[in-house]
Amino acid sequence: MSAGSPLPVGVERRTVAGEETLATRGEPVYGEPTDGDWRAWNASRSKLGAMFEHGMETGLAGGDRVLYLGAAAGTTVSHVADFAGPTYAVEFAPRPTRDLLDVAQSRDRLFPLLKDARSPETYAHVVESDLDAIVQDVATRGQADVAVRNAQFLADDGRLVAAIKARSEDVTADPEAVFDRAVDRLGDAYEVLDRRRLEPYHEDHLAVIATPR
């Protein structure tokens, strides 16, 4: 399953608690199994984890500067902050953000922001330009639009690493039709490099890797 591209430095495939799994090094966050400093990264709980399990070429190398949109309580962004460099985490719901604060407390290059990803002008005075990657998992209507509006944060050779959830756009439509429309909208700001569905880890989710055009 993992024949594809190499994992970023700082992400390893290890045996933790008797199971082969992706893992990063950092403070445990959500009761995940650990082995010494290593904490298991469960691909069924993380779209980005599932992309690595599928061997997708995300462009993430380790030490990257990242903008993470839709951080929620910090499950995935905690792993990102473990292997990446400065990581800006945007989330607009107050309740999960409270948990995100705990995750950021023990990670000194993780910057939590209670902001709406549809309004990048409200955090452009904090988040720096020329980033290596945007990781996006907002799961609300207008996902491609969010990615387009945030393209301004990426370096010319930066990567958009996005998960698109079909049901967030339209519960009744055929997921493939929803994905085609989203990829089409991404074309306004990006060149799409790769797309694939995230089954069996996440149903009706499309992963998209793109670079600014």
Binding site: P86, P94, R95, T97, R98, L100, L101, A104, Q105, D108, R109, L110, F111, P112, L113, L114, P120, E121, T122, A124, H125, V126, V127, E128, S129, D130, Q152, F153
Partner: protein, 291 residues
């Protein structure tokens, strides 16, 4: 405050490196049209010694700003609770008053009309045949709608209060917790009140009468509705009310300042009430009175 001049557009522009309050406000409220190389700009402008120092400052500032913003949003939710509890009371009171009126009217038109909301529910299903019957049935229908609205508001309170004030809601129940928050004027205001004030919240009339010298001091206000007070024998109710008010005050403070559930304060209260109630069993020679 959108600022297009690069030198002044970053969150750190025009603030002193150790001014945490201004940094919090700048992160929360600032806007700008496009991102720039903030770490390098901050170093050039002298805000930070080097890029690492900048990120350290940014980490502290984003934690502070986001913690404050989260707390503000949750406080905003306590205002929804205040509206909800007042609306619940108004809906219930109005529904009961109108139910009485509707029963009186319908009682003269139909056989066997029961009083109260349940009576109105029955009348609302009747088929009216005259202009007067139409009005009486319609009035009963409004009563039912109001009663249903009160029930929906109560459900909203039961869902919302535990999120806004987890410890207070667990200790007092969602409805009494919301009443206390409403009487105090918000969770923050409640958290800042001494426990003696919390004990008599809702008994303001009795308290004024006492201060004017023609009444004993009230032993409890709205917290009388809590089983720990109401179901304690009269001689010990003052002690029970004092103990309950003390722990409610602590619960409100935990909820306002930290927000996580702390089992310790709930255990303390249970022990305290058990001790107070044990006195009744010890007092074979009659109650020794409340001190």
């Amino acid at each position: 405050m959108t600022n297009h001049d690069p030198a002044h557009a970053g969150w750190f522009a025009d603030i002193l490196p150790d001014d945490a309050d201004s940094a919090t406000a700048a992160i929360a409220e600032g806007t700008t049209d496009q991102p720039r190389h903030w770490p390098e700009i901050a170093v050039e402008s002298g805000f930070a010694a080097d890029v690492d120092d900048y990120y350290d400052r940014l980490h502290k500032a984003t934690l502070d700003a986001t913690r404050t913003a989260v707390a503000e949003h949750e406080r905003a939710d306590d205002r929804q609770l205040v509206h909800a509890i007042r609306s619940l009371d108004d809906c219930e009171r109005t529904a009961n008053e109108l139910a009485e009126r509707a029963a009186e009217w319908a009682g003269g038109l139909f056989a066997d009309v029961d009083a109260g909301i349940e009576g109105a529910r029955e009348v609302a299903t009747y088929e009216p045949n005259t202009a007067a019957e139409r009005r009486a049935v319609s009035l009963a229908t409004r009563v039912v709608d109001l009663a249903d609205e009160a029930e929906a508001i109560r459900e909203f309170i039961e869902r919302t209060a535990p999120a806004v004030a987890p410890n207070l809601a667990a200790m007092a129940g969602p409805v009494l917790a919301s009443r206390l928050i409403a009487l105090a004027g918000g969770l923050e205001a409640l958290a800042k009140k001494p426990s003696g004030t919390v004990q008599v919240l809702g008994a303001e009339d009795a308290l004024f009468a006492h201060l004017e010298g023609h009444a004993p001091s009230p032993k409890h206000g709205i917290i009388f509705t809590h089983e720990y007070v109401r179901e304690t024998r009269p001689a010990d109710r003052g002690s029970a009310a004092r103990a309950l008010a003390g722990k409610l005050t602590i619960a409100a403070r935990i909820d306002h300042y930290s927000g996580d559930h702390r089992e310790g304060v709930h255990e303390d209260l249970r022990d305290r009430i058990a001790t107070i109630r044990a006195r009744a069993e010890d007092d074979e020679d009659g109650a020794e009175g409340d001190r």
